[in-house]
Symmetry: C2
Subunit: 229 residues, 2 copies
């Protein structure tokens, strides 16, 4: 797999509203540096990437450049303007990739604990099957809500919680992103599935959390103290 | 609601295997005392209970009594023998409740962060509708696994992750637990639903975690330091 061109698109569209913070969560400092820098570092360490693409809302580009200067962050990356939704942001990132061959990983900026093993597995699975999407077993029972107000039990082993990285063959992801946007496109796997390609899941890990709430950042700080990243 | 008899059954059946620990997780020390003591304390503080019932595997009864002595734990409770599965454990606890009137909360021993507000809400909903089951919105996208090996996207807003407390009218829960056990009975709501009663969900909170993995206990310790319990 060493000869294959590998790209990564890191999507940082979050506005930070769920953190109760004015700073979007990808910029919150975790240990010695902002979360997004941890994530980029994890990717750069794990894989030889042809290009590391960061998609950020336009209004934060200067802020990000200042942060890079302030924290002396030198990991090479390409900064791209975010879109109206995650779909549009990923598509903007994808536009920066020339040609149709190779693999591309799409990853949430706020999942700094991705880990090299998981990233390798996703790339490998995508190379073999066209897609490799990190997902973990549900820990808790789930119920489906009914319009009547009550709810019905579901078999939790039938379901997986989707994470990122989501890796695809570039030709597959490009074809998928030529579709017209619909609100059901909440992640990249949904877009690719809608285009008719199979989605193959890769066993992720529970540590690969999406930092969304103040509880998450507390946990992340704790892990960092224990030098997990 | 003050005149209604209220009971709680705290189920501690875990063997601790997922914690990589020989001590079942309900006995792991969190701050100044074992997790189970935090949970019992939360219940005793929040509600005027007629009886607080603790279901534990028989082989840990003496160990628990020693812990109570060692930690000078004086919260009044009734110790009951656990069964082969969670279903059998809850049924053992239920057997200790005389009569058919009033409400009973079933709760995981390893959810010490339950909080008085959520417990009140579950009791109140069960009083009005027969059941009040804590549940939270899924944070991540989920996919359903297909026998072919690939997977299909689901609309996550249709699903809720079930927590405890799960509160029921005693007559409802007793009737439900007269059913023959089937492996699909992974929680009490499933048993009650199978008996033909509606399950009404109550908005839980993300802090009400089930301490299952080493990551969970790290987070719980962090919260404890910040005096959340």
């Amino acid at each position: 797999m060493d000869a294959i061109d590998k790209y990564a698109i890191i999507v940082a569209g979050g506005s930070g509203s769920r953190m109760g913070s004015k700073i979007p969560k990808q910029f919150l400092q975790l240990g010695s540096k902002p979360i997004l820098m941890h994530t980029l570092h994890a990717f750069a360490e794990a894989e030889e990437l042809k290009e590391l693409i960061v998609v950020l809302p336009k209004e934060f580009h200067n802020y990000w450049r200042e942060l890079c200067h302030q924290f002396d962050f030198t990991e090479s990356h390409l900064l791209v303007e975010g879109g109206e939704t995650r779909f549009h942001s990923v598509r903007n990132g994808l536009c920066m990739i020339a040609g149709e061959s190779g693999l591309v990983a799409v990853h949430d900026a706020v999942r700094p604990f991705v880990g090299a093993d998981l990233l390798h597995k996703c790339f490998h699975t995508a190379w073999e099957h066209g897609s490799g999407v990190a997902a973990v077993q549900l820990k808790d029972s789930i119920r489906m809500r009914k319009p009547s107000g009550d709810s019905t039990a579901m078999n939790r082993t039938d379901f997986m919680t989707v994470q990122t990285p989501q890796v695809f063959r570039i030709n597959v992801l490009k074809e998928a992103f030529r579709q017209k946007y619909i609100p059901e496109f909440t992640d990249d796997a949904t877009v690719v599935e809608k285009a008719g390609f199979p989605i193959v899941l890769v066993e992720g890990h529970y540590r690969n959390i999406k930092i969304t709430t103040p509880e998450d950042i507390e946990l992340a700080e704790k892990w960092l103290m224990n030098k997990h990243i």
